[in-house]
């Protein structure tokens, strides 16, 4: 504007004159812009000197419309339009146009115009000013270009680019960022508070961000950000503050780079690295690496463990300390050479282990090269070759001795080429054959082979060479002294690395002696084998380790297995599964201890049935005592086993039965006094089951009062084989009394010895109740006796009282009649007659009573008084025990029988025994002993003597003892002895009583024995009877 106005003024003046030589003209010409004035139609009348200087167009040429040639044709139209515009000039509306410089280059100019008005205010001309803005525009252009480029870069960055304010408010986020996060800019404003981060990373990210905002420190963080599709990816975010001139933070630029793949790759790499390291450290070999210059930078754990060094000690060149001093120099020089030339390492050296032992190691290493072939690393390993090394050394040493050995060994050694020709024959062999080496070589040795064996030997030898297989053959060779001896020839091929046979080596052993022994053995074995296979049992052998190498035919037949199936351990398959464990255990024990063993197990028969067998094995030992074999048999014990089981079961039943019935069994071998008791018998006798049973032990338990009875029983049992049954008491140590019933059966065992088998039953309970019952019964019987006696008496009294009453009444009447005055003689006579009649009636009563006591005739029979007496004792035992009477039987042997009524005689004996017991009922100061004895007296009478220690017989009344109704007893009837005597007398015998020397009395009954004549007669009768019976039955048949 200033320029325009300034220019306008001179233009006013200029309009009046052509030249500008005035001061104003100088100014216009010096103006650093192009100036022209023109009519509204563009007809210029003035251009300043600068125009001319710029465009190179003379002012004259520029006037009119000439100036327009300076304007770029593209810009001219708009310039003309502007120029010709009638509108008032508006500030700021600059127009740019390119103006051609004199050299043809266009430069941009800013165009402005200003009106020049006449005095009347009417615009007559326009003044135009072109200002060169080319440089300015160029600067602006370049700035713009650069900004656009930056923007493109910013937007196009394959990273999240964000600009925030100094307070962290989001200002801009690039396209990629919005796309990645799947958010609009507005949304992102909020999101940048951390929502886009992985929850695990959010706290640390936000904390770092806040820290950066507060302090202005650069912001560097890694974190996972959620992609639009929800996938989290690792981002590395960097933020830098942009500061203004005063150093205050203006903006923050944040750039988040996706390095997820990298991260994963990193992780994978580090995992695989770890794995590799682990492998390297765990492989059973040493491993190491060095830098190109040989500086060791890694040694695996195995290496360190071997050398006993830490990695710090060994790395670099420290490992050298583990190398053997003799080897270290050579190794290092070799190593330097390899480093220099890059050739792989392959050498050996000794390395010291952590415990100070040196071992040989093979050192191997290879260089690792990069693409350009430069070595970047050496990798190496050390392999322990100590054993090989030693072996090699040993081989070297041994080879030297070998030939010596071969020639001196006490055996025949040879080698042959693959065509069969002998190349080498050792000294021993040559000496045996009596050949020189030259003679024996090739096929010369074959001349010494027995003609019968030669073909076979040659053919086997040829076959061996054809197949390349080791071979052996037995053949007779003629010795130097002409004797043929069996040799065992063995040969094996030597092969090269390719497997081809290069040579044959052989040995020959003189087996003549063995062969002979073998032949003999073979013959024996054959017969043994036959025996073993034919014997009707199973047999087998095993090796020392238990491996079965033989089972006989019997075994195979039983099992139905083939020998192949049974050999080894196959035999176990037929064992019953339940028995395998026990058998194997037992067998292993035998094997381990070398002791023979018996065990039992079930084996399956070919038909599937299991049977019990007794396994019995014995070791076979050689001369040194070493077990070479086990020989065993299996014996079928199934039947026995079953019987055993049956027995066990029945024994169990028996024991149970015995327990329940409280019956023990026992046996007694009389000659040796061996006794066997069952458990229950021990229990009854309350003896320790471990005690040996003897009659003595048994007696020790018998109640003292019963000892005589048992003693007598035992004595009789010893004498003859018989059966007996006794009931007696036992007195236990605790004073308890037991009642037992003993039943025994006598037998003769196989060697004729007397043996009793018996049962003893504890009948205490029964006996105790029997005793109670017996007592009650006897009391009842007594009461009944008293009652019946009373009834009898009353009956007798009634029968007698009636006539007696009549007699007295009649007699009284008679007396009164006779005493009357005058006497009533007739009445008296009648009453006297009646008195006689009543007297007769009373007499008849007595006759009737006597008839009641009339004796019966005795039907005679043979009576063994011993047996009869024993029966009575048995009958009375309970009663006697109850009365605490001790009975001492003394029975005569060979007592002849008597003739009589057995029952009546027993009644007498019973009466005597009861009397004896009654006579002792008040005895307190001495044992109530009763001796009952049988004997044959001097008058051929059979006697039974009962001797008590009771009150005895009063001499004054002795003669009345046997009277009826005489009694000394309170409850007695006094008919016992009277009846007894009448019974004995009816047997033609006698019954009498005597006083003892000591206390008590002795009653004796004596009846005639049966004479031989009588016996004969009875025998004849019996014979006749039986003959008749036979005859009758015969008659009945016919």
């Amino acid at each position: 504007l200033f320029v325009a106005s300034f220019v306008a003024h001179p233009a006013k003046d200029l309009s009046g004159g052509d030249s500008l030589d005035s001061e104003l003209g100088q100014v216009v010409n010096a103006f650093p812009g192009l100036v022209c004035t023109a009519l509204p139609d563009g007809n210029a009348d003035f251009v300043n000197r600068r125009w001319y200087e710029y465009s190179g167009i003379a002012p004259e040429a520029a006037r009119g419309f000439g100036w327009q040639r300076t304007i770029h044709p593209d810009d001219l139209p708009q310039l003309i339009v502007r120029w010709m515009s009638v509108e008032a000039p508006d500030e700021g509306r600059e127009l740019e146009a390119r103006l051609r410089r004199f050299d043809g280059q266009y430069r941009r100019f800013s165009f402005r115009r200003a009106p020049i008005a006449n005095a009347a205010g009417r615009i007559v001309k326009w003044c135009g000013i072109f200002t060169d803005v080319e440089n300015q525009r160029q600067a602006e252009d370049s700035l713009r270009e650069s900004r656009d480029r930056l923007r493109l870069i910013f937007e196009g960055l394959p990273a999240l680019a964000i600009v925030t304010s100094s307070s962290g408010d989001l200002i801009h986020a690039n396209r990629y960022c919005l796309d990645y996060l799947g958010a609009t800019f507005e949304e992102l404003k909020d999101w940048e508070r951390g929502h886009s981060y992985h929850p695990d990373d959010r706290p640390s990210v936000l904390a770092a961000w806040r820290h950066s905002l507060e302090t202005g420190a650069p912001y560097v963080i890694e974190g996972r950000r959620r992609r639009a599709d929800g996938v989290y990816r690792w981002f590395h975010t960097r933020g830098f503050p942009l500061r203004d001139g005063k150093g205050n933070i203006d903006l923050w630029y944040l750039l988040a780079t996706d390095f997820d793949d990298l991260k994963r790759a990193d992780e994978a790499v580090s995992a695989s690295e770890r794995k590799l390291k682990l492998i390297i450290n765990t492989i059973p070999a040493t491993a190491w690496s060095t830098r190109p210059d040989g500086y060791c930078d890694f040694l695996n754990e195995r290496w360190l463990a071997y050398a006993g060094l830490s990695s710090a000690e060994a790395e670099g060149w420290g490992w050298g300390s583990a190398i053997h001093p003799d080897d270290v120099k050579g190794l290092v020089e070799y190593w330097q050479g390899c480093l220099a030339s890059g050739t792989p390492v392959d050498t050996e050296a000794r390395m010291r282990s952590h415990d100070g032992v040196y071992r040989w190691f093979l050192f191997r290493a290879n260089p690792l090269r990069d693409e350009s072939g430069e070595i970047v690393q050496w990798f190496g390993t050390n392999i322990d070759v100590d054993d090989q090394k030693r072996a090699e050394q040993a081989v070297l040493a041994s080879e030297q001795n070998l030939r010596l050995i071969v020639n001196t060994i006490p055996g025949f050694a040879w080698s042959a080429s693959n065509d069969g020709a002998a190349e080498f024959i050792n000294q021993q062999y040559l000496e045996f054959l009596g050949l020189s080496e030259e003679e024996a070589r090739g096929w010369g040795w074959s001349s010494r082979v027995h003609p019968d064996d030669l073909n076979r030997l040659v053919s086997i030898w040829a076959n061996a060479r054809a197949t390349g297989q080791p071979a052996e053959v037995e053949a007779r060779h003629r010795r130097y002294d002409g004797e043929y001896r069996w040799l065992l020839v063995r040969t094996r091929p030597l092969r090269d690395a390719g497997g081809a046979v290069v040579k044959w080596y052989g040995v020959c052993a003189d087996i003549e002696d063995r062969k002979r022994a073998e032949d003999a053995l073979l013959a024996r074995e054959r017969s043994l084998n036959e025996i073993v296979n034919v014997i009707p049992t199973t047999a087998w052998t095993t090796r020392a380790d238990g491996y079965c190498d033989f089972v006989n035919q019997g075994w195979l037949t039983y099992s139905g297995l083939s020998a192949e199936q049974a050999i080894g351990w196959g035999w176990g398959s037929i064992l019953h599964p339940d028995d395998v464990g026990g058998l194997v255990e037992h067998w292993q024990f035998c094997l381990a201890s070398g002791t023979p063993g018996d065990t039992e197990a079930r084996m399956r028969r070919h038909d599937g049935e299991y049977r019990w067998f007794l396994f019995r094995a014995n070791p076979l030992r050689d001369e040194t005592g070493t077990i070479v074999k086990w020989i065993g048999t299996n014996i079928d014990i199934d039947d026995r086993k079953r019987a055993e089981e049956e027995l066990r079961r029945s024994e169990a039943f028996l024991a149970k039965g015995q327990r329940l019935s409280m019956t023990g069994s026992l046996s007694w071998r009389v000659s040796t006094d061996e006794m066997v008791w069952s458990d229950e018998a021990y229990r009854i006798f309350e003896c320790d089951p471990n005690l040996e049973v003897t009659p003595g032990l048994m007696f020790s338990r018998v109640h003292p009062e019963d000892v005589p009875t048992i003693d007598e029983m035992v004595k009789r049992a010893r004498k003859s084989c018989r059966d007996f049954e006794y009931e007696f008491r036992l007195l236990m140590p605790d004073e308890k009394v037991k009642y037992v019933r003993l039943v025994a059966h006598g037998t003769r065992n196989h060697d004729g010895g007397l043996e009793y088998i018996g049962a003893v039953q504890d009948v205490t309970q029964r006996r105790l109740s029997d005793v109670a019952i017996g007592k009650a019964r006897s009391e009842l019987a007594h009461a009944a006796r008293v009652m019946s006696l009373g009834t009898l008496t009353a009956s007798i009294a009634h029968e007698l009282n009636q006539p007696l009453s009549g007699i007295i009444t009649n007699a009284s009447t008679c007396l009164r009649m006779l005493a009357a005055v005058p006497p009533n003689v007739d009445g008296a006579l009648e009453t006297a007659n009646r008195t006689i009649r009543d007297g007769n009636r009373a007499s008849e009563v007595i006759v009737r009573l006597r008839a009641l006591f009339e004796k019966k005739e005795v039907p005679p029979e043979l009576v063994d008084m011993n047996d009869a007496t024993r029966e009575v004792i048995a009958l009375l035992s309970t009663e006697l025990q109850r009365k605490q009477v001790m009975l001492w039987p003394e029975f005569a042997t060979d007592l002849p029988p008597a003739m009589g009524d057995r029952v009546q005689l027993q009644q007498v004996i019973l009466n005597l025994l009861l009397n004896a017991a009654d006579a002792m009922s008040d005895i307190k100061d001495r044992p109530k002993n009763v001796v009952i004895k049988t004997k044959l007296d001097g008058k051929d009478r059979v006697c039974v003597v009962v001797k008590d220690v009771g009150v005895g017989i009063d001499p004054l009344t002795a003669n009345r003892l046997f009277d009826s109704f005489y009694t000394t007893k309170a409850g007695g009837m006094g008919i016992g002895l009277s009846v007894s005597r009448s019974i004995i007398e009816s047997h033609r015998g006698h019954l009498w009583a005597e006083s003892n020397d000591g206390p008590g009395a002795t009653f004796t009954l004596a009846i005639p024995r049966m004479t031989d004549d009588e016996m004969g007669a009875r025998f004849d009768d019996a014979l006749r009877n039986s003959t008749e019976i036979v005859a009758q039955s015969l008659a009945g048949r016919s």
């Binding site: 009453s805 009447t813 009646r834």
Partner: protein, 123 residues
């Protein structure tokens, strides 16, 4: 003695029935004899009898039962029991039922006379 007192005898035993009336007559009493209690009860002498000599044990109605029957009929006849089976229980029972006497066979003439006198004694 204006009128002789009547003594009736009931006993199943024939020898008693034969011998005893003579003795009673000798004592001076009138006598009637019956072999059983039933015959006595059926006779005309039941109400005329002043004293009854009664056997305890008889076939048919025993003596003690006859005693009860008479008592029930309101006949206050003194009774002297005679028996060959004497026992304490029987005697006690008879006496408690009001018997005038209880004699065991064989009894003496004096004992019988005492018993009759005691029975016929005015009350």
């Amino acid at each position: 003695m204006a009128t002789r007192a009547l003594v009736s005898i009931v006993d199943d035993d024939e020898s008693v029935r034969e011998s005893l009336p003579d003795l009673i007559k000798e004592f001076g009493f009138a006598v009637q004899v019956f072999p059983s209690a039933e015959e006595f009860l059926a006779s005309e002498y039941v109400d005329l009898t002043d004293c009854l000599i009664l056997d305890v044990a008889m076939p048919g109605m025993p003596g003690l039962e006859l005693q009860q029957v008479l008592e029930r009929q309101g006949r206050d006849v003194p009774i002297v029991f005679i028996t060959a089976h004497g026992n304490a229980a029987s005697r006690t029972r008879a006496m408690s039922q009001g018997a005038a006497g209880y004699l065991l066979k064989p009894f003496s003439a004096a004992d019988l006379l005492d018993a009759l006198h005691s029975a016929l004694k005015p009350k």
